[in-house]
């Protein structure tokens, strides 16, 4: 439905300044979102951002589009309902790692099955920012950040591998301080027909003093080489070329999973996996093949006649 005027990132600016801390990775993600939407020439009124609760959850307040800043952990279900009801919108769900992989993990897993056409962006900073720095599910065993009393005695989850195992059809990792590549991934994710998830490595300079921008840049290494590298730079091909080929799907999933476990001196970003499969919207549309393709909320007519159904009960 994009109207033919040129959209610029500034069109997505609002009149308030983000209340994030200086140096927060969230700024980079915000900019990448604005730029990606502009580059795709999507009108602000055709965008719906849906976020959870956390520092990250405030993002919709800084994007001039439709926005729902929901509950802690519930961005995916709210986004799911919104997209199914109003399929003409470009829906971006987003939230923190605590939001998505902690309290929201049940939705994270089950949304993978649906392949509804939306994009989910996880601001992964290893901590619960807004509640002052407790460990999040991505913090690794032995890590001790500034606000912890002792090193973590729990393992981290691997969100990329879980996403692949849960059925997501587009799985990527971004890096908040690299706005350019982040934007490129976002564009592909939004263009992807189906559920796309982007786990974004996001420095939280206030509470996470381990996975900092310096760390990702490898400035602590003997020879300072960035830890973060791009999968595409290594010729990694994430895409399933024949979605009917079950073996290819498995092979790509396994290859992506293998990459997702890399950590330490080398941390891959970019697209891990992608496949084209029918979306949930396609599935629902099949019930009424002759129906228009407009949003279902427009098709339904309050007061519509149902007397023809009554025959069933006689």
């Amino acid at each position: 439905m994009a109207i033919a005027t040129e959209v610029s990132p500034a069109d997505f600016r609002t009149d308030i300044h983000p209340d994030w801390c200086p140096g927060c990775g969230d700024f980079g993600i915000l900019n990448a979102i604005r730029q990606a939407l502009a580059e795709l020439n999507i009108q602000p009124h055709d965008v719906l951002t849906v976020s959870g609760i956390g520092c990250s959850g405030k993002t919709p307040h800084y994007i001039k589009s439709y926005g729902l800043h929901t509950l802690h952990g519930r961005s995916l279900p709210v986004a799911t309902g919104a997209k199914l009801a109003n399929s003409e919108l470009t829906v971006l769900a987003m939230g923190g790692d605590g939001d998505g992989y902690g309290i929201g993990a049940g939705h994270f897993v089950n949304a993978g099955r649906r392949n509804l056409d939306l994009t989910y962006i996880v601001f992964n900073n290893g901590v619960y920012g807004l509640t002052k720095g407790q460990s999040s599910p991505t913090l690794r065993r032995g890590d001790q950040t500034r606000s912890m009393k002792e090193p973590s005695i729990q393992d981290n989850i691997n969100p990329i591998a879980i996403a692949i195992a849960a059925g997501y059809t587009f799985v990527a990792r971004g890096y908040a301080m690299d706005v350019k590549s982040m934007k490129a991934i976002l564009i592909k994710a939004i263009q992807h027909r189906g559920t796309a998830i982007i786990d974004v490595l996001q420095p939280c300079p206030v509470y996470n003093d381990l996975q900092t921008a310096e760390f990702y840049a490898g400035r602590d290494l003997a020879t300072a080489i960035p830890r973060v590298y791009k999968l595409e730079d290594e010729g990694f091909d994430p895409y399933v070329h024949d979605p009917d080929d079950g073996d290819e799907i498995i092979a790509k999933k396994v290859a992506a999973t293998a990459r997702s476990f890399e950590w330490g001196d080398r941390i891959p970003i970019g697209i891990f996996y992608g496949v084209d499969l029918p979306t949930l919207g396609d599935g629902f549309a099949a019930h009424r093949p002759d129906a228009p393709t407009t949003s279902i909320h427009k098709q339904a007519q309050p007061g519509q006649d149902v007397t023809s159904v009554l025959g069933r009960f006689r």
């Binding site: 994007i63 800043h69 509950l71 799911t80 309902g81 089950n110 309050p302 007397t307 023809s308």
Partner: protein, 596 residues
Amino acid sequence: AEVFAKACARAGLFVFSNIEYHSNISGKHAYYRVRVNQKPINSPIDGVDLFLALDRESLFGDVDSPYPTHRGHIGQVTPDGGVIYDAELGVDDGEFGRDDIRLFPVPYGEILKAGLSRGGVDYEPRRHDIMRNMVSVAASFALLGVNMDEIVHVLQERLGEHRQHLVDMNERVLEATSDYVHERYGDDFPVHLRGIDSRANPMLIRGADASALGKLHAGCSFQSYYPIAPATEESEVLISLQSEYPIVVLQGEDEIACINMSIGAAHAGARASTATSGPGFSLMAEGLGFASITEAPGLVLTVYQRGGPSTGLPTRQSQGDLRFAVHPGHSEFPHVVLAPGDVQETLSLTFKAFNYADRYQLPVIVMMDRFLANSFWTVDELSFEGLQVDRGEFYQPNGRESYKRHQVTESGVSPRSVPGQPGGQFVTTSDEHNEYGKISEGIPNRHAQVEKRMRKLAQVERDAPVEDRWELHGTEDADVTVVAWGSTKGAILDAHHVVEREGISVNYLQIRMLRPFPADAVATILEKAKMPVLLEDNFEGQLGRLIAEETGIKIDRMLLKYSGRPFSQNEVETGLIQAARGGPERIVLSTEKSGV
């Protein structure tokens, strides 16, 4: 038994039918109760005129199990009533312990085999034993003098043309049964059913069906659900209509997802809804507050109450969730609670629920229950009269000023914008926010927003027609005023006549809107009432507590039931007469006679 009920309805009789079963897939005791009459009936009765038993447990209970729970239905059979049972069970007549009933042993297996062989089919226990049921139903038709054709018709519709061979097979079994019964018992049974031929083809319909119809008629285009007794049926009806109507029905991963999906759909422009029962309702607490503070428009939650607490009695009746429904989450927020009393009201109030939800932009809860959901009533026609759509105020961008999603207005309602509309962009949040939907923690704005939201409740009170809020059935002045809500309506109306025949005049205050509560009207009626009697299917007398909270009037007399079973007409009669004649203040109903 569904076939029996349907066949009776076809024959022009008024039918009421319900089922009781365990939360289990196979092997535990279950039973249907079908009541038929030439006059309209709305509730079950305790006495059983003709009892069709499939097994020993139905007759005598599970007394031999390590943890016995009941003693069968034999005690419920009325004097002179009949019992059809499987002659092959080897029951000794003495075991019945009654000499005032008629016994009709019928050899189910033998007849089944005979019937099958008439149709040229070999009997295979695993495939055909399910048809023993049919033998029993056919036997009852034979005894009651009803034409077997009705059954055949019903089967034909159910099974469809491509399974005509099954229909034929059943028909042979019916014949075999009929022959056996007529030969063996002739006209031994005194009750004969005669339908009203003039009655047009009535519907046999459940509350769950009516709720689905109400949603569809309201134009609901999104329903989420998570399987749970007794709420699933409504969603199943809607699923079956997805190919005819524009509605998406999605199974969520849990009830938290469901309520939030529906909230998302509502914000995105749909009339949206979800349905659940107690445990799922508890999981929706946080979502309801979120819907309310963000003023999601057009969100309806249908709650099918069942026996609690916790998982409780998943397949049994209760009206236990009222107080939770009135205050279903932390803190304070506006929402509306409606409670239909029968199938027609379910259709109407469900339809209207969307109007309230749209117009006032707050969540509306419709309180159903297991009894209303799954029982069948005969209804000649459902009325759609007076069901006008009201979607509330929409914002029209004027290009001059920016949109205030939560504009402070006198009514508390802020015109809405549907995502996709150019110039109507907004963000809203579960945090306290200002008129623009931006997070705001300042004091003056906080006051304005809290008060604006709560004003919507007062506005509902002003706008809602009386019939949506309460109804006083019967005369203004009566010896006893029954005060009740929800699905007890049928039993109260049915019992009412009988109680009046005892010289006790009865009227009945039915409360349909529980929040905002019609406090003034209720107080006025109660202050005049000679003897108000609360009637509820719960332990605490929750409506009574709500009335006290809202009006300061405590109703001391109450008829309560919390066995997990619905009120029967008889129980209401007995209870009311006892109350009227100065019985104890708190009367708890549930006798072995009223079912197991």
